[in-house]
Symmetry: C2
Subunit: 205 residues, 2 copies
């Protein structure tokens, strides 16, 4: 199997961390796609993912799966016990999915919007709207405050144990650096949780 | 179980349609939350979903699940054979999730953004940015064109059969009405698929 990614991008990192935690990282050949050079815009890459985003998982039969959480779902279903990261029963699977969507919609996407609309990084490929970027960063800050409250009473995001929700939250919180949102003493519970996740070997792959 | 919803809103509709297709609609007591009146902003509702959005599923033990796809996941896992709508194996589950995320990120959310940022509907609760709303509507149109191409060669969104991906696409395409995006003869394959889904009893619940 091939995993098309950009090593420094946050969504591919979520997949790598997921695979590392499940002991499956050696199952994939990793292929670097340079987004800055627009390699994701080529016809070849677009045929793998019409949305032109990384990561993409290409299976041995040549078929492709896009979207971070869909790729993780594939590996979870193929290797449910190595260990499970998406939940062991209906309640857990639903709550972990709820958290991943909250993280995507209220933290990850706002950070990405904040970056794209205030940095000018992709200005030749899109229409940056500074006010929208600034509002998006404010939304991300609000969610960090919510996480701080949540982690006051919880050692991990869900069920008192490490799950994919922690991977998604950790990579998203770290992604905040691109809009100068850093984990510091102003949010001590978030910081303690962040440092605990950061110490896992999977955080460095 | 209680399902907190607003009957006219598109995300609750996705859950109702999913439940109707699985024959499970009578498992939930439906409770209307009036978003226009801000009933979702109350302390009571916020304790069920801190993101203050519908739908929310309250289980009999009082615990709550937010997010449309997470609620659907709960019912799929509890009742996998009634029939399955999220896929029968790792590949199918991943591809159906990929499609649902594409639909959410490239169609549903842009329509919602387009509506909120151009209509003034929630103007007392947010900062509408007209240019962002207009760009979002253009992004939604681009995805409708992509769907038109996809449905040229496919009777359903995935695997040649009705799945949750069709529910999510159908409710999102229909939601386009709020920004004057309507299904018409300019996209004949999308129209044929839309009319086929619309004829299902679940489209009217």
């Amino acid at each position: 199997m091939k995993l098309y990614e950009m090593a420094s991008a946050p969504n591919p990192r979520r997949v790598r961390m997921f695979l590392a935690e499940k002991g499956l990282l050696d199952k994939v050949e990793r292929i670097e796609i340079d987004l800055a050079k627009g390699e994701n815009l080529s016809d070849d890459f677009s045929s793998k993912n019409p949305m032109k985003k990384v990561p993409v998982l290409e299976l041995d039969d040549g078929s492709c799966i896009s979207e971070t959480t869909a790729i993780c779902r594939y590996f979870e279903e193929q290797y449910p016990d190595s260990p499970s990261l998406l939940g062991d029963n209906a309640n857990e699977k639903a709550i972990i999915e709820q958290w991943t969507r909250w993280i995507d919609f209220y933290l990850f996407t706002p950070i990405g919007m904040g970056f794209q609309h205030t940095s000018g990084y992709f200005k030749d490929r899109m229409n940056p709207i500074k006010e929208w970027g600034e509002d998006s960063i404010k939304a991300a800050i609000k969610f960090l405050d919510f996480l701080e409250q949540h982690l006051k009473d919880n050692e991990f995001i869900a069920y008192g144990r490490f799950t994919a929700a922690d991977i998604n939250a950790f990579c998203s919180v770290d992604f905040g650096k691109v809009v100068k949102l850093r984990v510091d003493d102003s949010r001590p519970h978030l910081k303690a949780w962040y440092e605990k996740i950061q110490a896992r070997p999977s955080a460095s792959v």
